[in-house]
Symmetry: C2
Subunit: 554 residues, 2 copies
């Protein structure tokens, strides 16, 4: 039997575009004389469709696409596509998250996702009723066990997240092959875990597994792809590339202990590079690229401060959009050091991209003149620091508005965590590129970029971080060293340890209390941040939901 996987990049709600893309894959499948082509979870409407699922019109559009795909496939190829389906029973939510098996142009079977991830960035029980009936599909002498994403994931015997085990139920029907349609977002750990999960299913149930993931970024969520074909003995036959589309076909016989990649000789070492820093780099470039493409914008603008964060964003943006499409704006203040401008200019020169210089002093003075009668002689404080950041935000937004740029935000995860940034100032932007990357990881990314040649000037990587909003300011004046800060933040945010547990790891009690309070108190700032490209298992944004007003640990 020849089975294909279509790892494609869909756009949420773009029924026409998604249909055309799937049609192309079906035609490729027909040309390759494949028996079956498998698409990814909710491919028809794009994942995650969120509350669009609450519109009957949206569901109706999904049905239309499914019917038209059936017509394209006809009797030449069978297909499995992901889309919502109607719950015809009286009880429970109105929809299922389903995989449609279509043969001879007709829907022959609909498999419903039983395990609905409702944690982190996932909200599936918000929309879907869990499937609770399990059966295999007979196709050309083989029994297909069709599952959707999470259905193959709850394999821990220690603390399973759900009460039922879909693959155990399906295994009772003696399937010949396990098929999974996924929309599994990237984090720098995910590719390793995913491979192990798919392998574990193959070995435990002694079945070949065809796992089709989506690719592409949907605002903050990046889907890497990395679709997998694993033989029944656990051998990884193929792992598709990350961050790109791929349609590929596989031939398997017997009970799936031998599978070959159609049209290719070698099946050795087809797994992808899983180096975490490289993955984060590639994910961020892909995230920026998809955001602009899908919005229909070409040009990015950013404020280049001379610091490491904006330098990194500039490099990533140039790689995503092309050097001709990224404008850097240097906005020195009276507190800026000369090297801030010099280092920035060197970076822009290295990249061959363009820049503007707009000092903020005159506008700042004008504000101060108008505010001084109201400030009652109070001294320079954080007000004036924020004001400078906001003037820069205004300049960037003015240029964006005038020329149709979209502003890239350069806040990093350490800053976002403790609130070291100015709302409506350096926290402006359409997309936060680095707000899921800790400061210490940012240096590693810069070193990765500079590994062959000095793209980011060395001085940017060696000088002490500073916001330069008052005389001789350093980040270390108000924050712990990033090496320590990032570790505490990681334990609190990624590992969700409480204060006592973090102190138990050897961190200073006073420092832990201070850091955790900073994180909790600054929820109000993060609430108004741009969407953040998610590259870690726990990013700020929809995957981390905390009260703005509360008193925990305070």
């Amino acid at each position: 039997m020849k089975i294909g996987l279509a790892q494609q990049n869909y756009m949420i709600g773009d029924f026409k575009g998604n249909f055309e893309k799937m049609k192309t894959a079906i035609e490729e499948g027909i040309n390759a004389k494949a028996d079956l082509l498998v698409f990814s979870e909710l491919c028809v409407c794009g994942y995650p469709p969120r509350d669009f699922l609450e519109f009957k019109h949206f569901i109706h559009e999904c049905s239309n696409v499914i019917q038209r795909l059936g017509e394209i496939a006809g009797d030449q190829i069978a297909i499995i596509v992901g889309a919502p389906s109607e719950n015809k029973k009286k009880d429970g939510k109105d929809l299922f998250n389903s995989a449609y098996f279509i043969e001879n142009g007709k829907v022959k079977y609909i498999a419903h996702k039983a395990l609905l991830p409702t944690y982190d960035v996932f909200d599936e029980y918000r929309y879907f009723e869990p499937g609770n009936e399990f059966d295999v599909v007979e196709f050309k002498g083989k029994k297909l066990a069709i599952t959707v994403c999470e259905d193959i994931w709850d394999i821990s015997d220690i603390n399973p997240l759900y009460r039922i085990k879909p693959v155990v139920e399906l295994a009772k029907k003696n399937p010949d092959v396990l098929i999974n349609l996924s929309a599994s977002p990237f984090s720098y750990k995910q590719a390793r875990i995913r491979t192990e999960v798919v392998r574990k299913n193959a070995v435990e149930f002694n079945l070949p597994v065809f796992y089709c993931n989506t690719t592409g970024a949907q605002t903050e969520l990046i889907f890497d792809g990395g679709s997998l074909v694993v033989a029944s003995d656990g051998t990884v036959v193929d792992e598709m590339p990350y961050f790109e589309e791929c349609v590929r076909f596989y031939e398997f016989t017997d009970h799936g202990s031998q599978i070959t990649v159609y049209g290719e000789q070698s099946t050795v070492n087809r797994q992808q590079n899983k180096d975490e820093i490289k993955l984060i780099h590639d994910a961020l470039v892909y995230g920026i690229k998809n955001y602009y493409q899908k919005l229909g914008f070409k040009k990015a603008i950013l404020g280049l401060s001379g610091g490491v964060d904006s330098a990194l964003v500039l490099v990533l943006a140039v790689r995503a959009l092309g050097k001709e499409n990224v404008l850097s704006v240097l906005m020195p203040s009276q507190f800026s050091s000369s090297h801030s401008v010099d280092d920035s200019l060197q970076l822009v020169k290295n990249l061959g991209s363009s820049h503007k210089i707009i000092p903020i002093k005159e506008v700042f003075n004008e504000y101060e003149k108008n505010l001084s009668p109201h400030f009652e002689g109070k001294p320079f404080d954080i007000t004036e620091e924020n004001l400078q950041a906001r003037i820069r935000g205004n300049y960037l937004m003015a240029l964006s508005n005038k020329f149709g740029y979209i502003l890239l935000n350069t806040t990093n995860k350490s800053e976002a965590a403790v609130g070291y940034g100015t709302l409506y100032g350096d926290m402006c932007g359409g997309l936060a590129v680095l707000a899921d990357v800790y400061k210490t990881q940012i240096y590693k990314l810069c070193r990765y970029i500079n590994q062959d040649e000095e793209i980011i000037p060395e001085h940017i990587l060696t000088k002490a971080p500073s916001a330069e909003l008052r005389h001789d300011q350093k980040d270390s004046d108000s924050l712990p060293d990033y090496e320590i800060l990032d570790k505490i933040l990681f334990e609190y945010i990624e590992n969700r340890l409480g204060p006592d547990e973090i102190e138990g790891l050897g961190f200073d009690e006073v420092l832990v209390t201070r850091v955790l309070q900073m994180v909790n108190r600054n929820e109000f700032k993060r609430h108004q941040m741009p969407p953040t490209l998610r590259v870690s298992p726990k990013a700020f944004g929809s995957g981390r939901r905390l009260p703005i007003v509360g008193k925990y640990l305070d």
Copy 2:
């Protein structure tokens, strides 16, 4: 049997404060010689605790409070308190959303919530395993059926949201009374629906119902209270006041067809006023008040434009915080009409609150001077409009930072829906007071405020709405009449009708398409808005989750 309900205002994560508050109610219960005192859902930690539930330390703090409450109650009174509890089985999520029945100081029974709302603003299946065992509790010769919030709500036979019916299960055990612990947020429709739901349970199961709701606002979510006691024949014995705390006791005998309010003679007409405009008014005042109190701030600042939205916010803020705590800032531009300042000054005078005037022209000119070399001779456009709004935002934030004000945002729901506002300009603020109130409702609220005397100057209510960001601008230049716009928005947002269904109601096809596209395209602006006080059944914010980048209806 004498049963009390404690309708209290908790703070999320404030274990000490919540304990003290509950202790006071228990002491009141002991003084009143009550048998049982019922608290609200998750009262121990405050509702909604969100991802704090993922911290073991947080759960441990909840357990501590429960133990200490048991010690306070001792053998003098039994209590039922809401808190998370551990799922001791291997399968499923780690926590239940539970009601602890405590007698003689010991936890005698824990009832687990079976129906977990996971829609709109609710995320309960994110945290909790649904309860699936049902039993009554024997107490002083009566059988208590203890339920948590949603467990009594799924009473529709037409399209029930869940597969099981907790009260049907409990009814099999022949209870004498139905008790419900709730945290049910306000909308202007909710009090009517709630009363009907509680009455329907009483009548259907022929049981008296003691329904205890929480009160207080948690950032954007406002809990009104309105706890209910309904006799087994469906008579509403009592409905507690909205937007305030209340601890009250009830005596009931036999099978609960007769219940009296302890210490009061009349049981006639104890239901609250449910006029929708009055409710919205009171909810907004309560929301502002709670936000400042719980954050530990006293003083509010806002930009007063001479328009109806900021006028209304000022009145509400003065009612919530006191006239001495609200500063209005008038920031006329070269495009402001003289009446904008005059009307604002009259309003401030009527209220006896303070104001400042800071014209924006000089700073605007300074920006223009610095930007003109970069603008390549391009004409005045939306860039300059936005710039003016952002200068105002900067002034307001500078005063906030210098003096410790929190900025109130004055965006209304119609504007927020179609993106008629400037990010980092008039969309700044800590709390969006009116972003769940349509423009047409805003006029009704103003009329309600002016019903006895002219507080808001009549001219503010009769002039044509204008942003005054360019010469002779009117909202109607770029938006349909609010009367029509608001109706289309309501069908799309509240009723979730698609374009074809809205057109079917008689609205112009071109207009509907345009409005729906504006709503979808401006998701990026709403994503960065301050939290919005929720007063409708479908507010922007956590209750409405849409993709930022997508192409639906576009």
